[in-house]
Symmetry: C2
């Protein structure tokens, strides 16, 4: 079904189509009385609309169904990754978008084998934003995740410090048998997200190293910023797998449990 | 540290190295008194061994540490996937191994765009088994997951029907807002896995469709075999992402919560 983003929420059961939709639905799609489409307003509710009447400049629609199904994670999640080799950044954006992330930040980690200069970053971001939009459409998201680049971890914190929770996936934690910190934090996030009022948004930032892991300077930074180190189970995961594990666990706790 | 698989569990604190290890450690690796290596027996415990003495035909080792850290999921998990296009089967095996799966079964689903004949399947399995071994080594697993091919869903059930739990990720479920069946089943699996005695193994099989989803015949089969339909959250996932979501959720519930 065709889906339109509308600038203002439609609250009346019957309504005249806003001009931008009228043009597309009637002139471009050549919709007839009885045809249906979906609209999404700023409240991100998906409403199914049936066309009731059409004249030369107006068309009346009727909301016949509100789809309560919300495909967005109840927590605004930022995935921060040190730059990895090859197509790993693309895989992280594609799969991370399918799994509900709201924002991706890639940065030149001290141990990144591949570093991006400004020119390369600009080119990469164009590609990554396309991937994010494509994955958002395919997974029926109502939001297209942002993709940013930062020169280093200090610059990343200027983007993420306001988050309610910050976690860093730390390979060492898993090795030493640390197994419950992530579960503990996700339960807190779940409790807080259930208390949220309309319009409030809880934010979580999650940091991941590149293949080579974090440098001592970066680890010091995480400690200074009170970022919680979390283990992701007893197996060593590749750089591009760890963010997907975290997002799946987050979805499971917040959306299924 | 070098790791050796041994045929029988070592139970004595001090022991003579079995011949196959003696040869490799002393003749090949040229280990000296005081050097260390790891052994894993059928019980899959990783033990750190220090060399105490060496003569021309015997060497004595001492177990100085037992690594309680077990990298294997407490449930034997089989991932069953309809064959997908491109390198998706490879991604499923690579990432699924990192996430703890024990066995992969690929089958010619009725709606698979790409079908494998026996010749193609033989070639593919060689490659997939290599990927599974490489990923098992990289993620520090103690078991190399198996990879099988079946001609159709009926043949798959001959391999999987003995599992304690069988679930199928059903795109329709997520669409209709079904959100708690997976959580319910994973909690049952968790309770049962905690009751397991040494030597017992709980088994879970999880079925996933190809890009085109399941055919009515396959869906009928799942119902006949009492396979539980589970939703994986409110977003539509690609064929290769869904198994990773399930494995991450399984790990989270059984290993972190």
């Amino acid at each position: 079904m065709q889906r339109y983003f509308v600038k203002e929420n439609i609250t009346d059961q019957e309504f005249f189509l806003p001009p931008e939709i009228f043009h597309h639905a009637i002139d471009v799609m050549r919709d007839k009385v009885g045809d249906r489409f979906e609209i999404i307003g700023p409240d991100r509710q998906v409403q199914v609309v049936k066309l009731l009447s059409i004249d030369h400049s107006h068309a009346k629609g009727q909301i016949i169904q509100t789809i309560v199904h919300d495909p967005e994670l109840p927590v605004q999640t930022t995935i921060v990754c040190g730059i990895s080799k090859g197509d790993k950044t693309e895989k992280i954006v594609q799969k991370g978008t399918e799994l509900g992330a709201n924002r991706f930040i890639f940065y030149n980690s001290e141990r990144s084998v591949a570093q991006w200069n400004d020119k390369k970053a600009t080119k990469k971001l164009v590609r990554l934003k396309k991937i994010s939009q494509g994955a958002a459409e395919q997974s029926h998201r109502t939001v297209i995740p942002e993709v940013l680049f930062c020169q280093n971890i200090t610059a990343v914190f200027k983007e993420t410090w306001q988050a309610d929770h910050q976690v860093v996936a730390y390979e060492e934690s898993a090795k030493q048998g640390e197994t419950s910190q992530l579960a503990r934090i996700l339960q807190v996030v779940r409790k807080e997200s259930k208390k949220q009022q309309n319009g409030e948004t809880l934010a979580l930032s999650a940091f991941f190293g590149p293949e080579g892991g974090f440098s001592p300077k970066e680890i010091k930074f995480f400690k200074q910023q009170n970022v919680s180190a979390v283990g992701l189970g007893p197996r060593i995961m590749r750089a591009e797998t760890a963010p997907l594990y975290l997002l799946a666990a987050l979805s499971f706790v917040l959306e299924l449990e």
